[in-house]
Each structure stands twice: as C-alpha cells, then as structure tokens.
C-alpha cells in the first residue's frame, strides 16, 4: 500500500522534501513508516524520541496502524507563539 509522508521544519530539511510518497507493508504502523524513513535518511533516526506524529491530520502515536492512502506526518518539537 502507499502512504503520503509529511515532514516539517528540520525533518523536511533532512528528508529533502515536505511531502514524500512511499510504499509500505499492508500491516504497517506509523513506526514502520518511520523506520523506512530512517533507513532512507539516516540523519533522522536519532530524532525519534522528540518526534510527535499525526495520521490524516489527527494526533496519533507510533503504534497507530496506517491504511492505504493515509497521510502520516512527523512533527519535530514545535516552536510556535
């Protein structure tokens, strides 16, 4: 199945794009998607502990299952205000 990956701020710089499309296994979770990302862009791997996640623009966790066509967003620590 295919998912859209959204990257922001420092993660976007490290991934080279704010929007990626990748194929993942049918039983993938957010963590599966992250592992694929970390394999492709090793510099993101150490950031995992500080990353929040969202699926289809709803807050989620690394254990959240993803479905075909989902948008999985990885959010570095925020700095609004």
């Amino acid at each position: 199945m295919r998912v859209t990956i959204r990257l922001f701020a420092r993660l976007r710089d490290l991934g080279g794009s704010g929007t990626l499309t990748r194929d993942v296994a049918d039983d993938a979770s957010v963590d599966t998607v992250w592992q694929a990302l970390a394999q492709e862009f090793p510099a993101v791997a150490p950031l995992r502990a500080s990353i929040a996640v969202a699926v289809n623009a709803e807050y989620a966790t690394f254990t959240t299952r993803v479905m075909d066509g989902d948008e999985v967003a990885f959010l570095p620590p925020v700095s609004g205000g």
Partner: protein, 162 residues
C-alpha cells in the same frame, strides 16, 4: 482577514480584530474584561541579531490544536471566550506572530485563560519557526507536540494560575 476565532493567517494580525472575534459581533456588556497577549518577533536571540523569522505550520492539525486549546479553556473557565490568530510566513523583528484575546466577565479569568492559551500554543500546536540571522539560520525547537501529556498541561495551568 480571517473571520474565525481560531485561525492561521499569512497577513499581518490586527489586534482589534482578534478582540472583536473574542467579544463577538455585538458585545452587550456581558464581558467586563478582555485580556490580550501579543507575541512579537524579538530582534535578538541567543546573542544573535535576528534578520527575520520564517513560520511554517501543519495547517489542518494546527487549527485542530487551537480548537483543543479552546476546549480546554472552555472546560476550565466556562465564562471565557477565546480568540487566537497565529501568523505564518516571513516576519521581521517587531511584527506580531500571535495575538490571543480572552473575554470574560471578570479580569482574573481573562488573564488566566490568556496565559494558559499561549503556554499551550507553545506546547502542542504544530508550528515551527526558522530563525535567519547574520551569518546563518537555525530551526527553533521547543516542546514535543503531545496534547496528551498531562504534565505539560498542568505546567501550563500553573503558569497561568500561579
């Protein structure tokens, strides 16, 4: 200008508009107080001269996060009406990045809700700023965006209420 009480905007924020959104179209005296918070771009950060800040947002989630904050405020201070506008894009020193208005029958709740709201914005709303300064640039990173972190929420409440 955006006309919803919780929104992101690429246009300069007008404080009076945010106050109006908090008070509603025709305030009839039910509010005795409106507290406002205006966050502005500081010209100096970590000893560096800031040329400008570039704000970006994950907009659909950022708007939901503002809604979460408004819901928390409504739960804690039921009489308060809240409006928040956050700017995105390039901002020069001195420009407002966020304006919060909290309208309430009494000032104590207005001040508390306003302070709580800015603390929560900084904790959970998916907005990031890149600081561009003489000789370089850097992403500013604050809190992990976890709305379910009860410890963070209580810290925001303590900041607001002492």
């Amino acid at each position: 200008m955006p006309t919803t009480p919780l929104s992101l905007t690429v246009s300069p924020i007008e404080t009076a508009e945010v106050v109006r959104l908090a008070e509603g179209e025709s305030p009839d005296g039910q509010f005795g107080a409106v507290a406002t918070f205006i966050g502005t771009v500081r010209r100096e950060h970590l000893g560096r001269q800031v040329a400008y800040l570039e704000y970006e947002a994950y907009e659909p989630l950022a708007e939901k996060a503002l809604g979460l904050i408004a819901g928390e405020v409504a739960g804690q201070w039921p009489a308060v009406r809240l409006a928040i506008q956050h700017r995105t894009g390039r901002l020069a020193p001195g420009e407002a990045s966020i304006v919060i208005a909290a309208a309430s029958p009494h000032r104590a709740e207005a001040f508390q809700a306003c302070r709580y709201a800015i603390e929560r914005v900084k904790q959970i709303v998916p907005i990031w700023k890149r600081e561009v300064f003489a000789g370089g640039e850097a992403w500013v990173e604050g809190a992990p965006a976890d709305p379910s972190d009860e410890g963070a929420r209580q810290a925001a409440y303590r900041s607001a209420c002492g």
